[in-house]
Amino acid sequence: MKQEAGKIYIDESWDLEIKPPSHLLDINLKDVWRYRDLLWMFVKRDFKAQYKQTILGPLWHLIQPLFTTIVFLVVFTNIAKIPTDGVIPVLFYMSGITIWNYFSSCLNATSNTFVANAGIFSKVYFPRLILPLSVVASNIVKFGIQFFLLIVAVLWFNITSSSSFGPSPSLSSLILIPVIVLVMAGLGLGLGIIISSMTTKYRDLTVLIGFAVQLLMYATPVVYPMSTIANEQLKSWISLNPLAPLVEAFRYATLGAGSFDASGFGYSVGFMLVTLLIGLLMFSKVEQTFMDTV
């Protein structure tokens, strides 16, 4: 402050202006970056706290996909006799389950961000987006563990059975995996925050989401390959599902089976970007006042 001829010069630059929620579209990503340490803390918390006082600890991450694989094996291979693109069924299911689990757990956990964390949100400010982001990040850890199991299984079958499960994946297609995971993360996050933004005042949608995710799995080629669908109309319906090309591509990258369809993949990426953008806009509008209605 400096004084000049009796006038006091006041610095009018403010760091922060708190205003009523505006209709302008502003997403504060700079703040999210500033709080990146917190994101990491939440990931650590989720991982540490989940298996406290269990004997098997993180091994539980392996047991769940293994059991699901066994059930799928019995139901879809032995009873329903659905073909698996010439791949050993165990690997076929494991691959599908691994990538599907990542999507569904991201979506389920982010879709109630506001309601589940109202306690913290009502007491302290930090960019609300940190929480859904931390969910997506901590699920990557889980995904990594399950992915490791998948790799071990692929190698095991590769060595023991004489290349009878079809073409092994080419190394160049492995580069696809991180991209697929990223797109999956974007889809799970985008849909999740759209739902969480829509459920702060009226909870109706939360009732729907639980079983909608389960049903969505059957509209995605998780337990069957795209190639078995003979009905062209049905096929075009399923290819509207942005998850379908991703699951197929993941299987292609890990097992060398199925197809990689660039246009389908492009559709998924585009869908993800649009969903994420809409989600971010809705989320940043709702986060300012949701405490009053949640």
């Binding site: 922060l16 205003k19 009523p20 803390m41 406290k52 913290i120």
Partner: protein
């Protein structure tokens, strides 16, 4: 010094009742207005937020047109009754909710402590929770690492630092939580009554830390509390809120007196005409309480060298009970100076008829200290023991020294401030012994 917080015409509206199918009509109406570029129709109909009265409108203003400026290094105390809007104001300033209209501009990093231990996870160890809680409050990992030993030391939990916090005693839990918060280094700290926790020793430590933060480190603090002692010790400016409006913004004494007087009706005489708000029950109701001087004149200001007369008028509505009446005296810090009841009346065997009774009590001259005094009234009965009326602040008066030359009081010739909650004129005897 520069202004670091500037609150302009800040208002916050809440809707009462439940969210359900009924609210969707309002939401639709609001949306329809905004589509046509019109003002929100529900902003006009809000009522002042007085929770004791039944209102007609579903919408209330928890805050209405608040204007406050806080300068750097200032400690602003925010006081007011429950529901006056203190917490809403802090919530808006700490960005956990947005205002309905108006704005607040802030310079510098803000940390808010609306609760201690926000985000503590019971399964995690004390160490993990320090990092987690610190990060939630806005510290970076490096900052926490730098202060880790200091935090553990402040909380006195070194031995338990690797034990899950769910095994902590509640005192330890709170100490750890406050320790993290106390080591924040924001330019502006917002604190909401978190000092009401922990044992006395720890409370002292907390107040000391708060003082340190504001005085030695020159940070700005916003502090909500009902403890007038703490407010008086820490704050140098006070904002008094009442039903969502800012009633008074001034120095500490002014603010606290305003709040306490506002609470007690600021009158030497208080009577209740409306049966709904009259203190009491089906046995007794309080009719009137008044403060007079020795000449039986109603006064708001009394001289310390004069007697003070307090009159309590009440109505008995049930017979065959042994009633007993008394009064309490508090000073402007909320310190309970004395409590007295009518012992002679309690001893009498006579059963009282229904009707109005007037009890008078005389506070001797040269007994009270200077300042605002609040009168509380209690009426009980024995066998069985029941408290019918217990009003803490029904009337108030201010005691002042008269500095006329012939007046005899405990001040004597001294002109400065005399501490103490009472100031009786005691008899001294001094003689030369050697």
């Amino acid at each position: 010094m520069a202004t670091v917080i500037k609150v302009e015409n800040l208002s916050k509206q809440y809707r009462l009742g439940q969210v359900g199918t009924g609210t969707i009509r309002h939401d639709f109406n609001r949306w329809w207005h905004s589509v046509r570029g019109k003002e929100d129709p529900y902003l006009k109909i809000g009522e002042a937020n007085d929770r004791t009265r039944k209102g007609k409108s579903e919408y209330v203003w928890a805050l209405k047109d608040i204007n406050v400026e806080v300068r750097e290094g200032e400690v602003l105390g925010i006081i007011g009754r429950n529901g006056a809007g203190k917490s809403t104001l802090l919530k808006i300033l700490s960005r956990t909710t947005a205002p309905t209209t108006g704005s607040a501009k802030i310079k510098g990093r803000v940390s808010s402590l609306l609760e201690v231990g926000t985000g503590f996870h019971p399964e995690l160890s004390g160490r993990d929770n320090i990092f987690l809680n610190g990060a939630i409050l806005g510290m970076t990992r490096r900052e926490i690492q730098r202060k880790f030993d200091e935090i553990v030391d402040f909380a006195d939990v070194e031995r338990y630092i690797d034990t899950p916090v769910k095994r902590y005693s509640s005192g330890m839990y709170v100490r750890l939580a406050f320790a993290v918060a106390a080591h924040l280094e924001p330019e502006i700290l917002i604190v909401d009554e978190v000092l009401a926790v922990g044992d006395v020793e720890f409370q002292k430590k907390c107040l000391g830390k708060m003082n340190d933060v504001s005085v030695n480190q020159g940070r700005t603090v916003l502090f909500v509390s009902h403890q007038m002692d703490a407010i008086r010790r820490l704050c140098n400016q006070i904002a008094v809120l009442e039903n969502g409006s800012l009633m008074c913004l001034g120095n500490t004494d002014e603010g606290i007196n305003h709040y306490l007087k506002g609470n007690s009706g600021s009158t030497a005489k208080r009577s209740w005409a409306d049966n709904l708000v009259k203190p009491g029950n089906e046995y007794v109701t309080l009719e009137e309480v008044s403060v007079c001087n020795s000449r039986n004149e109603l006064v708001e200001t009394v001289f310390t060298h004069e007697e003070v007369v307090i009159k309590i008028i009440y109505r008995l509505k049930k017979r065959n009970f042994k009633y007993i009446h008394g009064f309490n005296l508090f000073n402007s810090n909320g310190v309970h100076i004395l409590s007295s009841h009518d012992t002679a009346f309690a001893k009498s065997k006579k059963s009282l008829d229904n009707g109005c009774y007037e009890a008078t009590v005389l506070i001797p001259a040269n007994f009270l200290a200077e300042g605002l005094h609040m009168v509380g009234v209690a009426i009980m009965s024995y066998n069985p023991f029941m408290i019918h009326i217990e009003e803490t602040e029904v009337a108030s008066f201010t005691a002042v020294d008269d500095d006329g030359s012939k007046i005899i009081n405990a001040r004597g010739l001294y002109g400065g401030k005399i501490p103490g909650i009472v100031r009786p004129l005691l008899e001294w005897e001094t003689k030369k012994i050697i």
